[in-house]
Amino acid sequence: MILSINNVIKKFGNFTALEINDLNFEEDRYYVVLGPSGSGKTTLLRIIAGLEFADAGKITMLNNDVTGAPAWKRDIGLVFQNYALYPHLTVYENIASPLNVMKIPRNEVIKKVNELLRVMELTDQAGKYPNQLSGGQQQRVALARAIIKRPRVLLLDEPLSNLDARVRIELRDYLKSIQREFKLTVIHVTHDPTEAMALGNNVIVLHHGRVVQNSSPKDLYNKPNDIFCARLLGTVNIISRDDLKFDDGIDYDLCEIRPEDIKITENGELEGKIESVQFLGPEILLNINMGNYHIKVSLDKYNDKYYENETVRLSFNKSTMNFYKSGKRLEKILE
């Protein structure tokens, strides 16, 4: 275990921004912190970085208590959302700046920076100033500056949110490969579910300053801890017991099923009328009126034979359904 957070509380005035009982990070893994705006993601990152200090609790890094340690004493690198590059320094000088403080021989510094410039594909940009670079290049400079000291933990606060869609996907792969190459523990904050699923070995879900789930993206998708987590990733149907009852001795009030787990078949047990058909590229999403409620069904793109106002019959893949009581998921499922 490289980093662990125990019983940490952070308040701003009377408002509790963060309350974390027990959160551990392993070496050489990619963690994504996911949550809506204001859920405390940035606060968590800043407390780990030492830019903000917890009101209570303990933070341990490589078995050292670092709860009150200043940022530069922690073995971390941080990439800011807006990069925070020094505008008066060149790319080369920006990357070298953390090393210049340490008493490292000059040629050593040059060697390290040049190596990183090569890895980051920035060699041609070394003499430029930050305002002469594209967003994606600036992001890579920021990344290089954060890892030049070879920190054990790399913190990223919405590192891709300022970039356009194409560059974002490119850099996403890049982040992952850097993490593998340097065997870093990455803690990556985002509110983009796709990013979380694509990158994370683990996804940590924050809600109102608390961790509500900490699992693989697959588990988060298939076995969400509560209704909030269920809604986080992708489209989901949530149906109240009053509208649709499954009587198998389960005491629940909501059930949940993903659109791709519903099939349209002649002998389906439920009937509804197609209200809209959306073509989304790889899939087609049907919105079906079931009387009191609606259900979304996803079909693959070749399955384009349905039209609005058509009446269809549905059948659920029951074993993939989850049931919730007072917001929490029940372990029981249908056979």
């Binding site: 970085a49 030492g50 830019l51 200043p70 940022a71 530069w72 971390i76 690198g77 941080l78 800011f80 807006n82 925070a84 020094y86 505008p87 008066h88 320094l89 060149t90 000088e93 700046s97 953390p98 210049n100 403080v101 340490m102 100033y129 305002n131 500056r145």
Partner: protein
């Protein structure tokens, strides 16, 4: 249309006078008062003026020593202020820059009196026999501005940069020199140039210290040309003013260029291993207190003096705490000074309002629709950085022509020369960050540009306008050169036939050195003259550094 009044005003009262000056240098008044062409004879006087060498030396000292010392002391003070992060400190430190300069000089003269001032306890020689007293006063009154400009630059460094430094373990002297100073290099240069303008045309302290200094000890070109003008030697005065115009144009152009393009360049100091330790907090506090003492001591002394009786003021050694507190100085000052107080209040308010009237629409269209473009803003900054004294002769002739010499209307008409550039520049920055959507929505709703300006923009920008007005008022309140040049008697207190318009600054500045100088009354008047500055500084305290972020102010 919005911008035309401002341009016309500048052309008439600032640009034309500069040209007129050049013409005047080739002319001379004959016995019947007419101007005749005399060729280069005015210029020849340059070589026959015995004290000119001394005067030029003095001018150079003011021009280069003052800004240099200002910057050297302003950078540490600004970093201390940022580190201590106490909001009440800034207004307190700014006070010396916001009070009338004449009052500031008067305070120092009383304090540095070798017999009756605090100086008695330290040193028994009269510092006003040398130029250094004026240098100290200049520094005292301009250092706060330099500090403010640099401080607002430091405050504008993104928080993320500070945090990145924290993570990279860059701090103390090393952070200051390798990160902060390069980051705010532009503000430092702007402050330096402004201080250059400030020092190079030192006028008010020389005027105030006339009675206590030896002749020519501290005279500079600016004051000397004023004296020539007053003694009727217009031609030679115009020569000196033309020289100053040339010098100040060069400085002003550098200033304009700097202000309008704000580029970053690499620093050469990076390879040196600067100490990477933070000063202990107690040191920071200690030095800040020293600065505060320097800034506040004259205030404390003048306050004490103002409550002393006549005998106590001239007691030896000086009394630190008056035994009998008297208010008679204040009552005397208010009764005798009443016409001056009234004039100052009236002309400062109306002059600033007139400037607002001309300036607000111009600033708005310049910022929003880029009317006049960079040229207009360049003109504003240029006029902002020239010394007022060079406009004196032609502006006098113009006010004379419309029969407004020695009257309120005369001063009100001419005051915008000094405050209009401040107002336009501040509001230009204000409107540049003003959301576009407001007036776009108004125009979509069918309002004309004029109507949306009146109905939407003006109401929404009242706080920006108020701040600009208060700044303008502060500078109008402390004005000396224009009232000196364009008035010669006090307001006669007549409502129907008003005449006379000497201001409070003349009342204060002209007193020292007269035979029976009433130091107590002078002190009381000075205290009264700084009250508006105190009120406004307190009022502006939270807005000050934001307002200045766009640039600097004279």
């Amino acid at each position: 249309m919005f911008i035309i009044p401002a341009i016309v005003y500048f052309l008439i009262f600032a640009i034309y006078p500069m040209i007129e000056n050049v013409i005047l240098t080739f002319q001379s008044q004959n016995v019947s008062g007419q101007y005749i062409f005399v060729g280069l004879s005015n210029y020849k006087e340059l070589f026959y003026t015995p004290h000119l060498g001394k005067i030029i030396d003095n001018s150079l000292i003011y021009t280069f020593i003052v800004p240099f010392i200002d910057i050297i002391f302003a950078i540490p003070l600004a970093t201390f202020l940022k580190r201590l992060n106490k909001n009440f400190l800034l207004p307190v430190i700014l006070l010396p820059s916001f009070i009338p300069l004449v009052t500031g000089a008067t305070m120092w003269i009383l304090m540095l009196n070798p017999l009756y001032g605090i100086l008695y306890f330290v040193y028994h020689k009269d510092l006003f026999y040398t130029i250094w007293s004026i240098v100290i006063i200049d520094i005292w009154s301009s250092l706060p501005l330099a500090t403010l400009i640099i401080y607002s630059g430091l405050k504008a460094i993104p928080k993320n940069i500070d945090e990145a430094n924290n993570i990279d373990n860059i701090k103390g002297m090393r952070k200051l020199i390798t990160i902060d100073i390069p980051y705010i290099k532009y503000q430092i240069l702007a402050a330096f140039i402004l201080m250059l303008v400030y020092g190079s045309f030192t006028f008010d302290p020389i005027y105030a210290s006339l009675g206590v200094s030896t002749p020519f000890a501290n005279l500079d070109l600016s004051y000397y040309s004023y004296e020539l003008f007053f003694s009727g030697n217009i031609g030679f005065s115009a020569v000196l003013m033309t020289i100053m115009t040339a010098v100040s144009t060069v400085i002003a152009l550098i200033f304009v260029k700097l202000t309008l393009n704000n580029k970053m360049h690499a620093s050469r100091f990076r390879s040196i291993h600067w100490p990477n330790n933070e000063l202990p907090k107690s040191f920071t506090i200690f030095f800040t207190v020293l600065y505060l003492l320097f800034f506040m001591l004259p205030f404390a002394w003048i306050l004490i003096e103002s409550f002393k009786t006549y005998n106590e003021i001239f007691s030896l050694p000086p009394l630190i705490i008056p035994l009998k507190i008297t208010l008679s100085n204040y009552t005397y000052s208010l009764t005798n000074g009443e016409p001056y107080f009234i004039t100052s209040i009236v002309v400062s308010i109306l002059g600033s309002l007139l400037a607002l009237f001309i300036g607000v629409p111009a600033a708005y269209v310049a910022a929003r629709y880029n009317v006049g473009g960079i040229k207009f803003i360049g003109l504003v900054l240029f006029i902002y950085s020239i010394p007022l004294v060079i406009l004196m002769i032609p502006d006098y002739a113009m006010l004379n022509y419309i029969h407004t010499i020695n009257s309120w209307p005369g001063l009100i008409i001419i005051y915008p020369v000094m405050v209009l550039p401040i107002i336009i520049w501040m509001l230009y920055n204000f409107y540049s960050t003003f959301p576009k959507s407001y007036d776009e929505a108004a125009q979509v709703d069918g309002m004309t540009m004029f109507k949306s300006f009146r109905k939407i923009i003006l109401p929404l920008s009242h706080d920006g306008i108020l701040v600009a007005f208060l700044y303008a008022f502060i500078f109008a309140w402390g004005a000396l050169i224009f009232p000196l040049a364009f008035t010669y008697s006090a307001y006669n207190m007549s409502v129907l036939y008003p005449s006379g318009a000497q201001t409070l600054t003349i009342f204060i500045g002209g007193t020292i050195g007269h035979e029976a100088t009433q130091y107590g009354i002078l002190a009381a008047s000075s205290v009264l003259s700084i009250i508006p500055a105190i009120i406004i500084t307190i009022f502006l305290r939270s807005k000050i550094d934001r307002v200045w972020r766009g640039g600097g102010i004279k």
